[in-house]
Symmetry: C2
């Protein structure tokens, strides 16, 4: 019973819980489910390489996946870190081009893979689904554009601050503490986060140290206490 291989998953139920498919009729959900395969990954396992041909797109049920480039010199740049309820690979599926990035599990992960034919079929029939897809890709594009902005116009410290504040969004302020005091947890290792922010781990470490010594934050492993979000945001 405790063997993870024996855990049965309810594919239509999981699909229905994803924002992308939440408005779908039960029969559509069933058809989608027929084109869906589960995929389990162990931490560190590769999902696809740059150059592989996509056959659909992925949904994260639980766990965590990174999308990244590697350069000829062996450097890696993490483009995106994806967690539960997020999807990826739609764009590359529409273009019918090989993956430009690699995908790898950052933790043990359960994915759903939805075959492209089913997606295209659904677009034909349900314009609301098409609109949701368009909205989802718009968000992704928007995020990407904002990333480009930070790489181009902001210092490394500003990028780290921006990232922390983004993590803090939606997280309630610490009870009993000062206004604007929040605790956030880094979703993964500092090296991966550094790469996501286009920094070296060394630089990230130094920035955390500096922000700590200014009394703006407190770092305990993956847990970061933001003492005053407004003051942190104002720091340049």
């Amino acid at each position: 019973m405790s063997n993870e291989k024996t855990i049965e998953i309810d594919i239509p139920g999981l699909l229905g819980r994803m924002p992308l498919f939440s408005a779908l009729a039960p029969e559509d959900l069933a058809r989608l489910a027929a084109a869906t395969r589960e995929r389990r990954l162990h931490k560190g396992e590769r999902l696809f390489q740059r150059g592989d041909a996509p056959k659909g797109f992925f949904l994260v049920v639980w766990g965590q996946v990174k999308l990244a480039f590697t350069s000829a010199q062996g450097n890696e740049k993490v483009v995106e870190i994806l967690g539960p309820l997020q999807s990826f690979g739609e764009a590359v599926m529409f273009l019918d081009q090989p993956y430009p990035v690699l995908g790898e599990a950052l933790a043990d992960t359960l994915l759903l893979h939805i075959g492209s034919a089913a997606v295209f079929g659904l677009i034909e029939e349900d314009p609301r689904f098409a609109r949701k897809l368009l909205a989802g890709m718009s968000i992704r594009l928007h995020t990407m554009v904002r990333d480009v902005e930070s790489y181009a116009l902001r210092s490394s410290t500003q990028r780290v601050i921006g990232y922390l504040l983004q993590l803090a969004e939606g997280v309630p302020c610490a009870p009993g503490a000062g206004l604007g005091a929040v605790s956030v947890e880094l979703p993964t290792s500092k090296q991966v986060i550094a790469s996501r922010l286009s920094l070296t781990p060394e630089t990230l470490s130094r920035i955390f140290h500096e922000l700590s010594s200014m009394g703006l934050i407190e770092v305990q492993g993956k847990l970061i206490r933001i003492h005053d979000a407004a003051r942190l945001a104002a720091h340049e």
Copy 2:
């Protein structure tokens, strides 16, 4: 007759020539045309500011537009340079959020503005249109991801080389010259191109100088002769 204000434009005809709408039925084209307004811009004129609310998206008929960020310090980062047959603003229209960038004409320009209601209506009715939109946004996203790759993993020289080779794509080799010899023309001023590549004009100038002195290219104003594309590509 020679006054540009008097030039009548054939909106359905122009729309039909855009890849995005090329497969549309004449009656759909007519309905779209009813929601389309032309917009003429002089060189340097602002189309929208960061923060403005989008009411549709734009198609470039002729001329050139840049999308850019500005930082508090007055620095500018050009995200995209758009020419004829290209569209922009779709994503931000779907999200119904203010523009994250500013749009400005780099030359005298004719745009078509397509109202969002008509776009949404067409999505409801023609799934092929939805697919084209999705494909277009996928291309944009893909381009953006590749941009992030070059900012993160490539040196300024490599970015310039990549840009030149991209310009050279589809351009025939110079007749009578060596294999791989191509001439390309920079689509706009070097300052704007520098910003697009996340460089200062000074750095771009130095890189052009260096590549010239290595015999890889020859720069005459906006005209750049690539002597040997393969050798240029191999240069690191």
